[in-house]
């Protein structure tokens, strides 16, 4: 049970052009589930491997609990790791795979048996303990890898895309099991993934990474609703967040709006400092209310006229792709919304769900 403190870590691989990790600081609370999320090549796996001791940073410090582990080899860090490839030992039975760490600690045989049986029970591996990994399915091998890690009762559990080699259905099922399991063992966990759904579903907090840096660290719903940058908003969520480009303008004392084409949206006072410059207005597809005809009474108070481009019924909801003055907007709505391609509709964003970003650097400001 330990807190992890990462202090100003940097790492450039030999022969690498850009640093894989640049000046990252991050604190993971005791028994917190932290997800490192980002596209491939963003440095999330490198960061995890430095926590594991499989890579060493060029600069910075890593503290687990009260111990500076920056230069310690993996076996002295009190960590356990689950690999993307499972990395179960093909020449050992499931039992000996799970027992491997305890055997290394030279634990008495009775204790090894007791703890292996506990771990294999937790992961429903009891019928398979005498088998070799070659006789197991991918999902079962991943269970072995997880059992092998949690049996160590590590201070920190590290997971490197543990679900990405499973097929879609199994992934969904194991994701829920994993969440339950980790919340039961209460181990501080760092989990690497490029799958935003996994990150949202598992994490206590999500650290979104890009180009070797952490862009935003927050709880899943905060990252989803209030992305710190345009990148975060478009990386997380399916469909990604809509971003409409417009120009901030002042309409008299303390009244602001953003001009999008020949229409405009009312804007909060925070926009004041940006008057005259380009902005991005971010809004999630499910936070837009579409209307088949111009909403009465609202007037300029928010609805934008748009032309429907594509209508996709997706079973539980309808995905409408519309064009506002040439900018594409995705809208999620009820399946009975009467939209057809080519039809004009009016889009009314929920005002408190709007996100305001500077167009120049894609960074959010205001609320």
């Amino acid at each position: 049970m330990s807190e992890i403190r990462i202090e100003r870590i940097s790492k450039t691989y030999p022969g690498g052009k850009a640093p894989a990790v640049r000046d990252i600081s991050l604190t993971v609370q005791d028994s917190e589930f932290m997800v490192l999320l980002g596209p491939s090549g963003c440095g999330k796996t490198t960061l995890l491997r430095m926590l594991a001791g499989l890579e060493y940073p060029d600069a910075g410090r890593i503290v687990i609990g009260d111990r500076d582990v920056t230069d310690l080899p993996p076996r002295k860090r009190g960590i356990a790791m689950v690999f993307q490839s499972y990395a179960v030992f093909p020449h050992l039975t499931v039992f000996e795979n799970i027992a491997f760490g305890l055997r290394m600690q030279k634990r008495p045989d009775a204790e090894v048996r007791r703890r292996v049986s506990h771990a294999s029970g937790l992961l429903q591996l009891d019928p398979y303990v005498e088998r070799y990994p070659a006789q197991l399915s991918g999902g079962q091998r991943q269970r072995v890898a997880v059992a092998r890690a949690i049996i160590m009762e590590p201070a920190v559990l590290l997971m490197d895309e543990p679900l990405s080699n499973l097929d879609a259905l199994l992934r969904l099922q194991f994701r829920a099991e994993l969440k339950k399991l980790v919340s039961e063992v209460k181990t501080t966990t760092v989990y690497v993934t490029h799958d935003q759904l996994e990150a949202l579903s598992l994490g206590d907090r999500i650290a979104v990474m890009r180009d070797g840096q952490i862009i935003q660290v927050a709880e899943p719903m905060t990252v989803y609703d209030r992305p710190a940058t345009e990148f975060v908003g478009s990386f997380i969520g399916s469909p990604p967040m809509n971003f409409l480009r417009g120009t901030a303008q002042s309409e008299g004392a303390a009244v602001f709006s953003v001009a999008i084409g020949d229409q405009s949206l009312p804007a909060p006072a925070a926009v004041a400092a940006q008057t005259g410059s380009d902005l991005l207005v971010g809004i999630r597809a499910e936070n837009i209310v579409p209307h088949a005809s111009a909403p009465v009474g609202t007037g300029s108070a928010g609805a934008l006229r748009a032309e429907t481009v594509v209508v996709e019924p997706l079973g539980s909801h309808l995905l409408v792709t519309a064009s506002v003055a040439g900018q594409i907007v995705k809208v999620v709505t009820r399946t009975d919304f009467p939209a057809r391609a080519g039809m004009d509709i009016w889009l009314e964003p929920e005002p408190d769900k709007l996100r305001w970003l500077r167009a120049a650097d894609g960074i959010a400001f205001g609320n």
Binding site: P14, G15, A52, G53, L54, P73, P74, R75, I79, A80, M81, F83, S85, A87, V88, F89, P90, H91, F100, G101, M104, Q105, Y132, A134, Q135, A145, R148, M152, L158
Partner: protein, 279 residues
């Protein structure tokens, strides 16, 4: 009875494999027929063998020829010599070559490609040129006409292949497995001996067969470097010219047999990789 014509792609059709089998049979015959003929000749009485045509199937079996060959002065000792040299070569080339192979497989160090090429180029160096300097060196070291001298030269000959083969074996053992062992409490050496080595063992066994057979069949260095402590091929070669036909067949058979037996026993390590049995 109704039959539904399935689309061609869905129809379960046996792959046309007969020509594959035919090729396998041809290759097998190419190797087995000479061995078979030598074996038949080696166990045929001398009188029958000297007649014409030579027997293709064993008409009369006799171990006289083999017995005579094995009782020839020096033959028994040379078989033992060959075994000793072979095993020494195997041990030395594995001990020296496997770590180099491991390094090539695991670490991206500066000049790795050049090193690999260099290893290969040593094979292009004709041993005939080395014969005189080697002889002189071994005489000064007091190693001339000893088995270790022959084993050393055989090791030098075998090392390039040992290094490259073991490198490819260790490449096939995923790094993840060793890293997993590291996170589970192993030292780097422990991760190697507990995980990488057992997984590489079948491949290493294959590489060692190769080395052993190379040493067993090597004639040139053995002939040059020994006078009284001959290995079997050197012994057979030096007495081949002035021996009767039967002796030659017996010698040939004695040369083939141990290599075959060795391969036979180590064979299962080639095919059986921890439950992944080749069907």
């Amino acid at each position: 009875m109704t039959t539904v014509a399935a689309p061609a792609a869905l129809r379960r059709r046996p792959a046309p494999r007969w020509h594959l089998y035919a090729l396998a049979v041809v290759i097998s015959l190419f190797i087995l027929v000479p061995i078979y003929l030598i074996a038949v000749a080696a166990f045929t009485p001398r009188a029958v063998l000297n007649g014409f045509p030579k027997p293709v199937v064993p008409v009369a079996v006799s171990i006289d020829t083999m017995q005579a060959f094995l009782n020839t002065r020096g033959v028994g000792q040379s078989v033992i010599n060959s075994l000793i040299v072979g095993l020494l070569t195997l041990v030395m080339s594995t001990v020296l070559g496997a770590p180099a192979g491991y390094a090539l497989a695991r670490f991206a160090f500066r000049g790795r490609d050049a090193f690999q090429l260099l290893i290969l180029m040593t094979r292009a160096f004709p041993i005939a040129i080395l014969a005189v300097p080697l002889t002189v060196t071994f005489i000064t070291w007091g190693l001339y006409d000893t088995l270790p001298a022959v084993a050393l030269v055989h090791t030098a000959l075998a090392l390039p292949t040992t290094v490259l083969i073991t490198a490819s074996i260790f490449i096939s053992v995923p790094v993840d497995l060793e890293e997993a062992a590291l996170t589970l409490g192993c030292t780097p050496l422990g991760a190697f001996t507990r995980v990488a080595l057992p997984l590489a063992l079948p491949g290493l066994a294959a590489a060692s067969i190769f080395t052993f057979v190379l040493s067993w069949n090597e004639v040139f260095a053995s002939v040059i470097l020994t006078v009284s402590n001959r290995t079997l091929p050197a012994q057979v070669l030096s007495s081949l010219g002035d021996s009767p036909l039967a002796y030659r067949f017996a010698g040939g058979f004695a040369l083939i047999l141990p290599a075959l037996v060795f391969i036979f026993f180590i064979r299962r390590y080639l095919f059986n990789m921890w439950g992944r049995v080749v069907r």
